[in-house]
């Protein structure tokens, strides 16, 4: 059976190519239906002003039934934003990537949510449990059962 993800991702990709991404979000790479890269930037007044971060999406064959694995890229000089819900290894603690994921969400809607998560941040600081988490974190953030720090993201 052709995977659900390929048709769906093809459709999302076509839409991105036709309509473009929202302001501050740029598609970097989508060569296959397994890994996509975007850059995101917070527009307007923000503690992250003029900082560009790279997001990686990894898809399983049954995306969008299962949520994509989304992380900030932290290799080759790229860094994760200093944010209370973002670990220094790039993992993100956001409920929409976990138990509040819904198959009607899309790659772009995740980008927008993460962009606004950064935009609403008033103070750059790491998650309280950063060191402990990063030491033992699995490679795939979806294997982590996050206790969501708050319900708004």
């Amino acid at each position: 059976m052709a995977s659900i993800s390929s048709r769906r991702l093809q459709k999302e990709l076509t839409e991105i190519h036709m309509e473009g991404c929202p302001v501050g979000i740029t598609l970097v790479k989508a060569d296959d239906f397994e890994t996509w890269w975007f850059t995101i930037e917070v527009m307007g007044e923000s503690v992250y002003r003029s900082e560009v971060y790279t997001l990686q999406f990894r898809f399983e064959p049954n995306y969008p039934i299962s949520a994509p694995a989304v992380t900030f890229v932290v290799t080759d000089g790229r860094k994760a934003p200093l944010h209370p819900h973002v670990y220094s290894n790039g993992h993100i603690c956001a409920s929409i990537l976990g138990n509040e994921w819904s198959p009607v969400l899309s790659v772009v809607s995740v980008c927008i949510t993460l962009q606004s998560m950064l935009a609403s941040c008033k103070k750059k600081e790491p998650p309280v449990d950063n060191d402990r988490y990063v030491r033992t974190a699995p490679d795939n953030p979806k294997k982590t059962r996050f206790v969501y720090h708050d319900d708004t993201v």
Binding site: I4, R8, K11, I65, S66, P103, V104
Partner: protein, 565 residues
Amino acid sequence: MSSDYEYSDDDVDNVFDDDELMADGDSDGDDGMEMDDFKVVPKATRKAYELEYDSLSQPAVEKLMEKDVEYIRGILGVDDNTASLLLRHMGWNKERLIEKYMDNANKTLVAAGVIRPEPEAVKPSKRPITRRATKQRSPSPPKSSGSFTCSICFDDAPGLTPLSLECGHAACSGCWEAYITSKIRDEAEHVCRCMAEGCGLVAPDSFIRGAIDEDGFIRFQELLVRHFVGCNKNLKFCPYPSCTNTVSCPSGASKSSLTTVVPIVSCGARGLASDGAPLSQSQELVKRATGKEHKFCFGCVIDSDHRPVVCAVATLWLKKCRDDSETANWIKSNTKECPKCVSTIEKNGGCNHMTCKKCKHEFCWVCMGPWSEHGTAWYSCNRYDEEAGVNARDAQSKSRASLERYLHYYNRWANHEQSAKLAQDLFAKTEKKMEEMQITSTLTWIEVQFMKKAAEELDKCRVTLKWTYAMAYYLAKGNQKELFEDNQRDLERAVEDLSELLESPIEPENIPALRQKVTDKTVYVQKRNDIVLEDTAEGFVEGRWAWNVSVDGFEAPAAEPDTAL
């Protein structure tokens, strides 16, 4: 037997409700013995260390669930789907559900995912709507006139069937199947909400049945049963892999009972479940006869027999073993000094009988006491607080002494655990011997069963022995502890004797004598095991056991330095 353990069959039924009786046909006919208005006598002769419980198959539990659903359906005037969703939402608490529903039906239905919240404020007096939540076909697919594009996978093939819950959020049947299957299989989740973001509707059972394949639905039903069982403190799901039985054990369900009872139960099944392939009748019979019982504790998370010791102490011990494994290994692998000439001694080999190379002093590695006090058998050293050992240890540092003490118990505990793990080997070896006996003697298959019986008994006793060391470690010093350790030593001895006998080579001419001996020793070992279990259980009921550490539900320990680590 004190009456604390007894209760009538009525009490068993009260697990669920005062007004309901357990579904019949599921209690394997053991209650066909009621006599008029007399209190029902407990089964046969229940030992002090046994307690009453019932094993329920999955269909039996499903019957209990159906009864609750039927009851709610009758009282609230809703359909089965709605009653089920409401009950699950309220953790199967019927009273609270009825109360909440009477208070605000709409709010309760919304919270349970049966209906969507109405866009405008609802007049509080409005009568609850209880329409069917299952509508298989959404009235209007996103695009008009026949063509439908699934909003999840973007398929728009002509014959595509849109499916939706009451809310009308449609997706193709393939997406629904993938979504619900992934919830059930990957997340072990029985609550499948509508896929639309923010829509809280929960797919009712009839929708799920139609949306997924048979295997998936079977798994779904198991999840429902697990949820129901998890909501009821008198029930526990069998922890053995792929077993779907449940045990009902009200007398082991309250926390306070766990200071007097060790609620070890068995789900009624035996052996490991076959992985999918159905067994033939004869295979099934073999499994039932030879497979291990699914024994587990109703009172704690230990999924094996931990009698005679109560849950709190068993748990304490396991935690200690986990926490101390490093220290224990360090100490074990390290050298010690000869208690007499203080030269360094290294342990090589498993035996605890040490001889100092320099002064030829013989002593026990574990307790450091002179070996002469141990006799010839290592098991005489089950007791740690021997005078000589204490004196020898005083020379060593205090912290070291308490580690040594721990190791004394730990080594014996681990030794029995190891032996129990090797039980399969023992059974296999025994089978072979039984075959051998049939060839070399005139004994029939039935007549050589004594070997198997002996092996089984040994296995049981090793479990008991293992846990007696956990118990003894925490028992406060005194007469009671000494009596306990006397019983422990007698069982230990009996077990070693029988075990040696089983391992001895078979001489054809000796088989009748061996058979007699093994049978006798098996009976004896059984008796010793019973004494340990019975006496310990009675001790808990009488409040005879005192601990050297504080244990949940027990009196605080009298000050006793040096023992607790």
